[in-house]
């Protein structure tokens, strides 16, 4: 173990948000500036470090931090292409969300607590992204649960407490299942490192029965966070959280952690070939497809904007699982790239939902008549996000859908197209009415609870620019999908490595 730059960097990336987070807890409530500085320093430092890492990975450097927490149990943080994808997403969106949250919580209480846990949450997410083995993944997965619980409960209302409890009940159970699966797997193989192409391929066929069972346990554990139906119940309930939390929960942290875990397990633990042989991919695909359709249908029945977005997340995140479940590099690209695309699109939507609530007091779809006139930039960002979700080109969502569809066809699974088509129609079914209300309905006489921020823009700058920026990301991720360093190109790189192309 050498403690040089390459061995320190992954750890430093995790710590760059962890340490500020710890200090933020200690900051007195009224020290707004100090807290903001800590937040931003952490976020920017992380961004710089991730930048260094991307550059290094691009040059072919190997980054790996190893800490033995117990003999035989090693915390491994390393940077392969897949982790870089997720880490970059988390880091960029964390910065944006931090800015947003600072604005959002301007006059709220318990900010030190909030930002402290917020930073922990991101640290855990980054930890998940950089995990080099299943143990590390499990550890950060659980920390993530713990760090997000206070965020969900943050508002302190009875609904918030209830939502947080439900969230916790689901995720902790899931975490335990994951733990059991990880332990079980370990007894069969020893340390479960994430290896491109999987590490179970060489196992004797006698163990295949057990491997199937383990996969079921792992999938149940990961499926909770990934909100696979029927394990999705917590997601809509946790919508009581403040908007930045929902954004982070849905776009980056929690659901992604689950989806990312599924990707890891299929590709880097089981190996896609073995998983396919064992018939695991079919199960995953069926589950994901069902979730995609089911989530969309439920989203259509929601009036609460955030709840609708939540069910939309249920549906959209399963695209990642769907992509994973299809054999072949193209579908892999589709699933992986959706990890990023869904993140930036969904975070845009949640930011906007937060803006509506914060600026106008609008929380339900039925109240959204004419918001486009009152808040054009926000609504524009929302429109970009929503159309992207539907899969309208050239926004990012289309790219994912294309690769998923193509991957399905290449894998001979034509039914994927049916799922995608159904999902597109359902997505349109619940997003387009919102857009219609926002742009085409007349303004109401007054808004439920309007705030004037006395700026040149429709709302406070810290609230307005984050969604606009992420919306631009959505557009750029689509328009420049084939440019170097785009999410798509990274996803291709990952797929090439996974399939040894």
């Amino acid at each position: 173990m050498s403690w040089d730059y390459a061995a320190l960097l992954p750890g430093a990336i995790v710590l760059s948000s962890l340490l500020p987070g710890v200090f933020i807890f200690l900051v007195r409530e009224e020290s707004h500036t100090l807290r903001t500085v800590l937040n931003l320093v952490g976020a920017i430092a992380k961004l710089v470090l991730v930048g260094l890492m991307i550059y290094g990975v691009w040059l072919g450097q190997v980054f790996e931090t190893r800490i033995a927490i117990a003999p035989g149990l090693t915390l491994v943080l390393n940077a392969d292409a897949l982790s870089v994808l997720f880490v970059t997403l988390s880091t960029v969106l964390w910065l944006v969300t931090t800015v947003y949250a600072i604005g959002y919580l301007e006059h709220s209480t318990n900010r030190s607590r909030f930002f402290g846990f917020f930073s922990l949450c991101v640290s855990a997410t980054v930890g998940i992204a950089l995990s080099g083995n299943l143990l590390t993944f499990v550890i950060f997965y659980e920390i993530l649960t713990l760090a997000t619980y206070p965020l969900v409960a943050h508002r302190g209302t009875p609904e918030a407490t209830r939502g947080a409890k439900i969230y916790l009940a689901y995720t902790l159970s899931g975490g335990l299942l994951l733990l059991v699966g990880a332990v079980w797997l370990r007894t069969l193989t020893g340390p479960v490192d994430f290896v491109e192409g999987g590490m179970l391929g060489g196992l004797s066929p006698d163990l295949h029965g057990q491997l199937v069972a383990i996969f079921a346990v792992l999938l149940a554990g990961l499926g909770v966070k990934a909100a696979l139906v029927p394990l999705h119940g917590w997601l809509p309930q946790s919508m009581v959280a403040p908007a930045p939390v929902s954004s982070l929960l849905h776009a980056v942290a929690v659901v992604k952690a689950g989806a990312f875990g599924i990707v890891r397990v299929v590709y880097d633990v089981y190996g896609v070939t073995l998983a396919s042989q064992l018939g695991l991919l079919t199960v995953l695909g069926v589950l994901a497809s069902f979730t995609i359709v089911y989530g969309s249908i439920l989203a259509m029945t929601q009036d609460g904007l955030k709840k609708r977005l939540a069910y939309s997340t249920v549906s959209q995140v399963s695209y990642i699982a769907l992509g994973t479940s299809l054999l072949g590099p193209v579908a892999t690209v589709g699933g992986l790239v959706h990890l990023v695309h869904q993140g930036i699109m969904k975070i845009t939507l949640f930011f906007c939902a937060g803006n509506y609530a914060e600026t106008l007091g609008v929380a339900n779809v039925s109240q959204m008549d004419g918001v486009g006139r009152r808040m054009p930039l926000t609504t524009l960002a929302f429109t970009v996000g929503a159309l992207g979700m539907i899969g309208i080109p050239p926004i990012a969502g289309f790219v994912s859908k294309w690769y998923l569809g193509l991957g399905g066809v290449e894998a001979g699974q034509h039914w994927v197209l049916v799922i995608l088509a159904t999902s597109t129609l359902l997505n349109a079914g619940y997003f387009l009415p919102i857009l219609y209300r926002a742009w085409f309905r007349p303004l109401p006489a007054s808004w439920p609870k309007e705030h004037h921020f006395h700026t040149r823009f429709e709302t406070m700058g810290a609230l307005l620019w984050p969604p606009v920026i992420t919306a631009v990301f959505c557009l750029l991720a689509g328009l420049l999908a084939s440019a170097p360093f785009s999410p798509l190109e990274w996803a291709r790189l990952i797929a090439e490595r996974e399939y040894g192309l």
Partner: protein, 592 residues
């Protein structure tokens, strides 16, 4: 250098979106009723939108390519002959409509003072950009992206005036457009998978499965108004404001043909089954659209049905070309030119209806002129000799003649008569319109005039050396005019005789049949879901009650009993004894 015009052609309208939106940032944000300007921008941005596209169509040589691999999923802009024609007529129609929109549509009806707002301009420009993009993009991503952009933005144009009928039309339009888009998406995915390329149309589209072809036909068929996928068309085209109708009918529905020409193995592969099927569908489309159109009241609806019928004609030709690849060069050119002339003429007709409604008072010189030009355009559409219609149709003739179905010529002739009748009906209805004069119609009229002039010049452009082309199609016209005159005469004498027929079939025809079906399905679904919900609710209730029973009652001290010494003592002694027995038992038999 001129290759970059291909990019600018569709990026330029996008760049205009921001100034055209009319959004202004002010201190008093939120206190004003609306952040968006109630009036469109003072400058005619929408009219400037198509200029680069037109320039590209005129200046960029055929065969120019502009590969942009970093853009989107690998964009490849190119201009082949088909695209050039398409780009030209599309840009022209958009230009005329843009001028009309920017300089003509002021005010609007009193109940909706913001008839044309920044929103309209934005969506107009977006549709325009999409339309250009899909034409100049040789790869299927560009096509699909432009197609979707155009289709979605056009929804806003359709529902623009916010009337219930417009909203209904918009809904139908959107649902069907989305259905079409997902089908197209699926088709393109399969196409890409089967051919291994994202840039078909260069000899690679050869091995398509039936499913792919079916999906492509379905997906684009919606846009093309292929019966029975045409339901949206007679609703949406009339509902939209005039300039929007003009582009909807004039350019947007044409892209379906462009798509088929690009993605189907036209001229490369004989697909008798699909070709016949498409030809029959085209014929069916025509035979349905013409009679239904005849009984409509609204001139724009009539024009919409006419569009459907014309699309049917082109589909028939395309189907025949698919049957016999040898006909392709001629057939393709014919279709393209026909599409171009129809686009120009139909755009002109729609704009003309708008002008007829608003430009100048009734009986004025302007109105008379407008009516006159409308008649000319109607004649062009009906394919009267010396008009563009005749010239374009002439190019289709060989294909129709070469068809193995000998009866097809007769059918086409009958439909030609039908078209004439339909146009007559259109003129009749237009004539009876009562114009509401509004100011400032000079520029729109000028733009419209340009369009009409182009229609007039069209035959000289495409069939300069073939005078016989100008003269074709005289017979159906004669028959049609004859019948129309007879009908007009009878109607003048006996107004009641035809009254029952007028409005007999509502716009959207088959929709009236489909809707009850949908409603029934919905109702059944609701009942089912309600039952499901009830069962679920009951299960949840049971679980909640159990939870309440456990956690609602105070925990109490259940260990009080355990703390009774005899109980605890018995347990302790028992455990000791058991442990002893287990220890002894493990040792005794084996002797340990």
């Amino acid at each position: 250098m001129s290759a970059w015009l291909l990019l600018i052609a569709w990026v330029w309208p996008l760049l205009l979106v921001w100034p055209a939106s009319g959004v202004r940032f002010r201190q008093d944000w939120g206190t004003a009723a609306s952040a968006l300007s109630p009036r469109p921008s003072a400058l005619p941005w929408v009219a400037l939108g198509p200029v680069p596209a037109l320039a590209a169509a005129l200046l960029v040589p055929v065969g120019t390519e502009l590969p942009l691999p970093w853009l989107f999923l690998g964009t490849h802009l190119a201009l082949d002959a088909t695209a050039q024609v398409y780009l030209a007529f599309t840009a022209l129609v958009w230009l005329a409509a843009g001028v009309y929109a920017a300089l003509g549509e002021r005010g609007g009806p009193p109940e909706a003072p913001t008839a044309r707002s920044g929103r309209f301009d934005v969506l107009f420009l977006l549709s325009m950009a999409g339309n250009f993009w899909l034409i100049v993009g040789a790869d299927l991503f560009s096509f699909y992206a432009g197609f979707a952009m155009m289709g979605i933005a056009a929804y806003g144009l359709v529902v623009h005036d916010g009337s219930p009928s417009a909203l209904w039309a918009g809904k139908v339009y959107l649902v069907m457009a989305l259905l079409g888009e997902v089908a197209l998406f699926a088709g393109l995915v399969m196409l890409a998978s089967e051919t291994g390329t994202t840039r078909p149309g260069t000899g690679e589209v050869t091995a398509l499965s039936n499913a792919t072809i079916a999906l492509l036909l379905l997906g684009l068929g919606v846009k093309a108004g292929l019966v029975p996928l045409h339901l949206w068309l007679p609703l949406a085209h009339p509902a939209a404001p005039v300039p929007a109708s003009a582009v909807l009918s004039g350019t947007m529905i044409k892209v379906a043909l462009l798509g088929w020409l690009r993605f189907l193995p036209v001229g490369e592969l004989a697909l008798p089954g699909w070709g016949h099927w498409l030809a029959l569908a085209g014929l069916g489309t025509m035979t349905l659209a013409l009679p239904v159109g005849l009984v409509q009241r609204d001139p724009k609806v009539i024009l919409a049905y006419s569009s459907i019928a014309k699309m049917g004609l082109m589909m028939t030709v395309l189907g025949l070309v698919l049957v016999e690849p040898a006909l392709a060069p001629m057939g393709v050119a014919g279709i393209v030119f026909y599409a171009a002339q129809h686009g120009l003429a139909k755009g002109g007709l729609f704009l003309g209806v708008g002008l007829r409604k608003h430009a100048g008072p009734a009986g004025s010189m302007t109105q008379a002129l407008i009516l006159g030009v409308l008649v000319f355009l109607a004649l062009a559409l009906a394919g009267a000799p010396f008009t563009s219609g005749a010239a374009a149709k002439y190019d289709l003739k060989p294909v129709l003649d070469a068809a193995e179905w000998t009866w097809i010529g007769a059918v086409i002739a009958v439909t030609a008569v039908g078209t004439v009748l339909l146009m007559a009906r259109f003129i009749w209805v237009s004539w009876r319109l009562q114009p509401h004069a509004e100011p400032d119609w000079l520029w729109p009229v000028a733009a419209w005039g340009l369009l009409a002039a182009l229609v007039a010049l069209f035959p000289f452009a495409i069939a300069f050396g073939k005078p016989e082309a100008w003269l074709s199609n005289g017979l159906p016209l004669g028959i049609g005019v004859g019948i129309a005159a007879a009908v007009a005469l009878i109607a003048a004498l006996q107004p009641k005789l035809f009254a029952p027929f007028v409005g007999l079939i509502p716009p959207g025809d088959l929709l009236a049949l489909v809707m009850p079906l949908l409603r029934a399905v919905k109702a059944m679904g609701e009942v089912f879901l309600e039952d499901l919900g009830r069962v679920w609710g009951r299960l949840k209730g049971i679980a909640l009650a159990a939870f309440e029973r456990v956690f609602g009652t105070p925990a109490g001290d259940v260990e009080r009993e355990l703390r009774q010494w005899p109980v605890a003592g018995a347990l302790w002694v028992g455990i000791s004894a058991l442990l002893l027995l287990l220890l002894l038992g493990a040792q005794a038999p084996g002797g340990g």
